[in-house]
Structure formats: C-alpha cells, structure tokens
C-alpha cells in the first residue's frame, strides 16, 4: 500500500471508531424507559448489514487489484465505515434523527427511514467502488458525487413534501416506509451512476447524468404520489401494506427495472 493509502486508512479508522463508537455508546446508554429493544435492534444491526452488503459487492465488482486482496479490502471496508459514519449526521439535517426520534421518543415511523438512509449512503459509496480505477481518490470523487445527489434530492423532497413532519410529529408509519423505499431506490440509482471503470472526471460526470435524471424523475414521482396517497386527517400509526409497504416496494422495483433495462452501470 502507498503512503497516502496508509494515512487514509488511519484517518478513516479514527473517524469510523469515533462515529460508530458514539452510535453504539448512545444506543447502550439511552434509558430503557425511553425506548425498548424493538427500537434498538434495528439501529444495532443496520451498520453491520450495510458493511456486509458493501463487502459482498466489492468482492465481486471492485477494481482488479482490490478483489482478493486482504489489505485493500480492509482499506475500503474501513473507508466505507468512515464514510457512512461521518455522513450519518446528514440524516438529522434531512429531518429524521436516529437518536431523537428512534431512541429518545420511541417513534416507530422513524425506524425505517433511518435504516434506509444509512443503507442509501452505503449504496452511494459502494457504487464508487465498482469498476477499475487508479486509487482511493477516484472512489472519493464518484461516491461523493452520488452522495451529494442523494442529499440534495432528499432536501428538495423535504422542502416540498415535509416528510419529516409526517414521520417525526404525526408518527405516520406508512410515510416512513414510503420514504425508506424511496431512499433505497435513490441509493440504487445514484450508486449505479457512480459505478464503472474510471476514465476521467468529465467521463464520470457524463456517465452519471442519465442516473441523475432518473433520480430526478423518481423524486418528482414521489412528490406526485405523495399528494394522492398522503392521508388527510388520518394518522396511520400501525402501517398498512397498501399505503406503506407497497409504494416502498414500487419505488425500489422501478429503480431495479430501470437499471436492469440500461445495464446497471456504464463500463
């Protein structure tokens, strides 16, 4: 490994340990009177699931010098943990908080968006790792582009739809499920947009454009659908398949079908 890679590894390890150490410490510390194990388990298990998904993809589709290399696989695993950990507070800026809503207020509706938000960040970073490239800065650029697109779309969505109000104040489980499905779909689109062999910055941006357009269409579709299916005067705290799970699956399925139809990512 090059000197710069060792420095990045050490910095990533420190960042990852800080953010995930804080994550698990708070989960352990928050008084059990505030929220039961059903709220803590999803938070405890989401990071390992994200890392496992990242590992599975990297082992199959990463650069030729990463696949099968213990050193580079470890390097990118630590990099991924730091990436998702350091960007995790962005979920709070988008209106849903793992600590305030899930742990301290036992809000069932917030559990899925938090888990899906972390998974979407993981998908964006995973996409940046797919394909051959000269080094970690290529991953940083491609994954950064995907992550910025995700957060910008989420912020626009919040300005228009105010999902955070419905999820964190109304505690509408169906809205939480719909947002979770949309986040995973956007993570898939932008992650695949960031994937592919590295040629240049311009080529990476050019390749990303169709995926960004697809993400934009998905965002508009969410806004339109939300206007029709959002309850007026009804609080659905239990969750119903028709209004929560089904739209969530529809977003993810639409993204998968579109990606399959264009060949997942550009080589």
């Amino acid at each position: 490994m090059a000197e710069s890679e060792i420095i990045i590894l050490i910095v990533s390890a420190i960042i990852g340990l800080f953010f995930w150490g804080q994550w698990y410490w708070i989960i352990h510390r928050v008084n059990p009177l505030a929220s039961g194990p059903q709220y803590r388990w999803p938070l405890q298990w989401t990071p390992p699931i994200c890392i496992a998904a990242f590992y599975a993809v990297v082992q199959k589709f990463a650069s030729w010098d990463v696949i099968g290399s213990l050193a580079y696989t470890t390097f990118y695993l630590v990099f991924a943990a730091a990436w998702v950990g350091a960007l995790r507070p962005l979920l709070g800026f988008c209106g849903v908080s793992w600590r305030d809503d899930v742990l301290e207020r036992a809000n069932t509706a917030a559990v899925m968006p938090v888990a899906a938000g972390l998974f979407a960040l993981t998908l964006c970073f995973t996409g940046g790792n797919i394909g051959d490239g000269p080094g970690w800065w290529v991953v940083f650029f491609a994954a950064g582009m995907a992550t910025v697109a995700l957060i910008v779309c989420w912020q626009i969505l919040e300005l228009v739809c105010h999902n955070h109000e419905i999820i964190t104040i109304d505690r509408d489980v169906d809205c939480g499920l719909r947002l979770a499905g949309w986040l995973v779909a956007m993570g898939l689109l932008f992650g695949c947009g960031a994937a592919g062999d590295w040629v240049s910055v311009e080529a990476t941006i050019d390749d990303f454009v169709p995926y960004a357009i697809a993400g934009f269409v998905m965002m508009i579709a969410y806004m339109i659908l939300e206007a029709f299916i959002r309850p007026h005067g009804i609080v659905r705290e239990k969750g119903e398949f028709l209004w929560g799970t089904l739209p969530a699956l529809a977003y993810i399925t639409s993204a998968l079908i579109w990606l399959a139809s264009i060949g997942w990512w550009k080589q």
Partner: protein, 256 residues
C-alpha cells in the same frame, strides 16, 4: 424498578398520551420515590384551575409555568379528569444551571396523589413543562452543569392526532400574559394551523382563558430547524439534556 413504577404512575401504559411522557428525570434517583407522602389538600387548593372548567374531554392543557408549580397544577387537574404528561427532558448535576430538585420532589409527592386517583384512559392531556427550562441571558459557565432544555414539535402529539382524538381546544397556562416561548411557539402554531383553538390562562388567576394568536417563529417547518433550536444546548448520553460545560469551551453540544 422503583424508577419504572414512579414513571408509570405518571405515565400509565394504558393512557393514550403516555408515549409522549419523558422518562429522563424519573430515571434518576428521586428521594422517597415510592413514599406515601403526598401533596396536601391545602397545596392543591392553592392551584387555581377554574379556567380549566368544564372538562368536556375536548381540551388539552399546556402548563408552561415554573416546574414544581406545573406539577402541582397537573395533580390538581388530574382531580378534574385530566391525564398529566410530564415532559421534563432534563437531568440534574452539581452546580446545575437549573435547579430541578423541587421538580423531583413534587413528582414524588404528586405520584402518591395520583396513585389514589382513577384517571380514565381517554382523559385529555395536561402537558407539564418548566417555564424556566431555558433562562434568557444566563449561559452556564465552564465547570457548571448545563441542563437547560427545550421542547420540540416531536415532544407533543400532532394537531392531527389531537383532532382525531376529540381535542378541539388548547389552554396554555403561563406566568402573566407573556407570549409563548420560542420553542413552544413552533408547536402552538402547528396546532393553530390545524384548526385547534389556542387560549391562554394566567397563573394565580381564575379568569377565563382568552383566545391568543401565536405568530410563526423563524425557520418554521424546516427539516433542520430542530438542530438549530437545540444549538448550544448539551445532550445527556442517557437521553434528554444535561452535561458539564468543559473548562476550555463554550461551544454547542449537539451531534445528530
């Protein structure tokens, strides 16, 4: 175990509103937690609640007065069929910015009164706050325990939820006639815009509650407004607010 019993006395699992009750202060050791000493009739009579009548199950009450007084009023209102909902989201420590010992004492005494009452599961809520939760112009110094706190829209049921459960009016009890605190106004405006009638009553007055109009605060409904409202306050790792101000720092303590 005693903490849980005390908390569930104030937030019975069967009550519709208990999910909003804050357990933070109950998680601390409270002196004489399960004693039979209660608030006296004389103390409860001093709490003038004529403004809260009649209880038609369509009015929710927000007690935004000094904490121990709010607890006293909550017990008096429980006698009239309201379900107290304690929202104290703070902790205690040595050299604390806010002295919560009187609130803790009132909660233990009030619990004895509540144990002797039968409050219907669908009783309307009386939310208990401490108007001294974030004193203006008093920033804790290094070494002090900063337990100032705020309320967020997430700490209360939504206007839609209240309406769906028959609540049409909100009465806010406050000191004098001063306008609602900035953090509370974020909640009251949401309720107002949902169609709930907001009325204000004054502490130590039996005068009927009058209509009030709450104006929209800055950053209303923005996704990150909650982070800004909490900026400069210190979180407690066990939940709620409260931590020692570091000697070499005066910065904020929020991390999401």
């Amino acid at each position: 175990m005693a903490n849980r019993i005390l908390f569930e006395t104030w937030a019975p699992p069967a009550s519709l509103w208990s999910r909003w009750a804050k357990p933070v202060l109950f998680a601390e050791t409270l002196h004489g937690m399960l004693s039979n000493r209660s608030l006296s009739e004389k103390e409860l009579d001093a709490a003038k609640t004529a403004w809260a009548l009649p209880n038609n199950n369509d009015t929710a009450i927000v007690l935004d007065v000094p904490g121990e007084t709010a607890v006293l009023y909550a017990v008096a209102l429980a006698n009239k069929g309201y379900q107290p909902v304690a929202l104290f989201n703070t902790t205690s420590g040595s050299r604390a910015a806010i002295d919560v010992s009187k609130i803790k004492k009132a909660l233990t005494l009030g619990a004895a009164n509540l144990r002797g009452m039968t409050i219907p599961a669908k009783a309307p809520p009386a939310f208990i706050l401490d108007s001294e939760r974030k004193p203006q112009g008093r920033s804790p110094k290094p070494g002090q325990y900063d337990n100032r706190w705020v309320v967020l829209p997430q700490d209360f049921p939504s206007g839609r939820f209240l309406m769906n459960h028959g609540i049409r009016n909100i009465v806010i009890l406050r000191v004098g006639t001063k306008p609602a605190a900035d953090d509370l106004s974020h909640i009251l405006v949401r309720w107002q815009e949902r169609g709930l009638r907001i009325r204000g009553a004054s502490l130590n007055s039996n005068a009927a509650a009058g209509d009030i109009r709450v104006t929209r605060p800055n950053l209303f409904r923005l996704a990150f407004s909650r982070l800004l409202v909490m900026f400069g306050l210190r979180r407690n790792s066990a939940g709620g607010f409260g931590a020692v101000v570091p000697e070499e720092s005066s910065g904020g303590g929020y991390y999401g």
